[in-house]
Amino acid sequence: MEQDQKLVNGIRALLGDAGYGDIVTQQDGNNMLLTARRGNGMVTLHIAAEATTKRRRVEETSVQAHDVRESGIVVPGIDGVVEQLRANPELAKAMNIPDAHLKQIL
């Protein structure tokens, strides 16, 4: 990590000498991304902790702060869905229910 930082500092200096400005270093997970611009031109440098040519997928969920489900409300749904899922596990695939979620409700 320290070596990478030295490398980035050296490259920043070289880019500056070559007339590049707007030099920005950003942390991208475990990787580092450096960009610099000169006129309409651009330099990018990606220092990867692990080399890969595969596209990655990152997911993030968040929930709104609400109270727990109130009683006495009417919600659209499928009555008896748990029993149906128990009798017909294929239904879980049709409903796009992940295995871990299915285990939670059965």
């Binding site: 991304l33 993030e60 969920t61 929930v63 006495g72 009417v74 869905v81 049709a94 979620h101 409700i105």
Partner: protein, 223 residues
């Protein structure tokens, strides 16, 4: 006249292509049942139907969302899709399983966009889950329940994620705004029951197939 609507799901429950048939009926009582991949709804004549896809996926709403994304160096690449989902299929179910009942359905509004960070395009999909219900006074309520963000790309994903997360409050504020007319459209009417239908909620006898991944309707029955 009442109709019996049958929805034959070809690509999953409330997902993709759905064959839809309507049959006239003299039965005024509501009923619903799921038999494997066929949902049958007995829809009384007094049904108040709202086409959520038509209400949400408007040029004005697309413009509102796109404007907020531009601030995050992102550009909208799809329409606003509206889909019905069962609670156990929602990505954050596992963290909060008791938040809803397994039988409950939520509304998923999703759209795709590209992020420029700083020169690599990253593909992203944001899904916003809405919880619609009749409150204890039998009035329609719709609120944002949660979100799921998926990013795919080679590099710059974490940088892009931070940019989108920073823009998220403004995006959700816009979604909140576009929900208000839907609730206002139901007025101060008291409803006894509500249910979801894939597509536009057509009652026509020769109803065309619908794309359940893009359009969802809600049926409301006056109390």
């Amino acid at each position: 006249m009442s109709v019996i609507s049958k929805y034959h799901f070809l690509q999953g429950f409330f997902n993709g292509l759905v064959l839809h048939t309507n049959q006239p009926s003299s039965d005024e009582t509501f009923g619903g049942s799921l038999d494997n991949n066929v949902l049958t709804l007995r829809r009384p004549n007094a049904e108040h139907a709202i086409d959520l896809g038509a209400q949400i996926n408007t040029d004005a709403n697309i413009g509102r969302i796109a404007k907020q994304l531009i601030g995050a160096h992102a550009s909208l690449t799809s329409d606003l899709r509206v889909q019905g989902v069962v609670w156990p299929s929602v990505p954050y179910f596992f963290k909060f399983p008791a938040r809803h009942l397994p039988r409950d359905m939520l509304i998923k509004v999703s759209f795709d966009f590209d992020i420029d960070v700083p020169i690599w395009d990253i593909g992203a999909t944001l899904s916003i889950y809405l919880f619609a219900f009749l409150d204890s006074k039998k009035h329609l309520q719709v609120r944002i329940d949660g979100t799921h963000l998926a990013l795919t790309g080679l590099i710059g994903l974490e940088i892009a994620q931070k940019k989108i997360e920073a823009a998220m409050p403004q995006v959700l504020a816009q979604v909140d705004e576009l929900l208000k007319p839907i609730v206002a459209g139901a007025g101060n009417i008291q409803f006894a029951h509500m249910y979801y239908m894939p597509g536009k909620g057509s009652r026509a006898i020769g109803a065309p197939p619908v794309n359940a991944s893009h359009d969802l309707s809600v049926g409301l029955l006056v109390a």
